[in-house]
Amino acid sequence: MEIGTFQKKGAGTQEDPIRPDFETGPGGPLGYTPVMWESVGGETATTMTVRYQTQ
């Protein structure tokens, strides 16, 4: 498991909720959506920090 900070994306609807954009992480895009991830706090207006399972 890794911890990373990612930009938020999504319209805020149930079909398109706000969530981390794993394609555009500040540390470099993951290029994939992790099979498991969860918030670890430190959320800002534009970013979420999450613990995620690497591919």
Partner: protein
């Protein structure tokens, strides 16, 4: 220390929650809803569904066209932390089942498909084949965790499974979801998310039951809710 749950509290997981320090005399948590056998009537609901309670089973059927449906129970007071536990059975091939803890109070026919707001919800979500921890605040949805490696069998006659969700107000607040499969399995935690918008206290426990007209599902006792002021 070996964990040996008592038979009489195995399904609700009380010994497990006490071991985690969520329940127990020092926590201030007390039962609010204790449906060990007969499911309680709902206090509020979306109107395009039928809800039929037969002893331990609350069966819902989504009537009319496609739209989200919910139903909920009032907690009768405001609580700073709440733990909700219940069993579910998936009755269709696509939809969602989610147990939510909301800061708002609701009574009667709400009409609006998504009437519950300001909540944290732990749910099985077939559209993504995943478990999801999700918040709705001010009408906007934010996902705080997903897991595509484990979720209930999505089929009309799938086995019952159970969800548990715990929420604690604050900034940061704590929101945790557990799942349980089969009558003899133990609870295990999937998510422990952290967010900071739910800060005023909880008044409702509710269920989101999906979108597709004609779909059927069941909520099955034991259905327990504990809370502390």
């Amino acid at each position: 220390m070996t964990y040996h749950p008592l038979a009489e509290t195995h399904d609700t997981g009380e010994a497990y929650w006490e071991r985690l320090g969520i329940l127990g005399s020092s926590t201030g948590m007390a039962p609010i809803i204790s449906a060990n056998k007969t499911m309680p009537s709902v206090d509020a609901y979306t109107n395009n569904q039928t809800i039929a309670i037969t002893d331990s089973v609350l069966k819902y059927t989504l009537t009319g066209g496609n739209a989200n449906r919910e139903f909920s129970w009032s907690l009768g007071a405001t609580y700073s932390k709440v733990l909700a536990v219940s069993y579910f059975q998936w009755g269709s091939t696509m939809d969602l089942q989610g147990l939510a803890i909301s800061e708002d109070a609701y009574t009667g026919d709400q009409g609006n498909p998504n009437y519950m707001d300001n909540y944290i919800r732990f749910m099985a979500y077939s559209y993504g084949n995943e478990m999801r921890l999700q918040k709705r605040v001010g009408g906007s949805y934010t996902t705080y965790g997903t897991d595509t490696t484990i979720y209930p069998e999505i089929a009309a006659y799938s086995p019952a499974y159970a969800l548990a969700v715990y929420a604690e107000v604050g900034d940061p607040g704590v929101q945790t979801g557990w799942i349980k499969f089969g009558s003899t399995s133990q609870w295990f935690q999937l998510f422990s998310g952290i967010e900071g918008d739910l800060t005023t206290g909880f008044q409702t426990v509710g269920v989101g039951v999906g979108y597709t007209g004609g779909n059927v599902g069941r909520m099955i006792s034991p259905f327990y809710v504990w809370g502390a002021a």
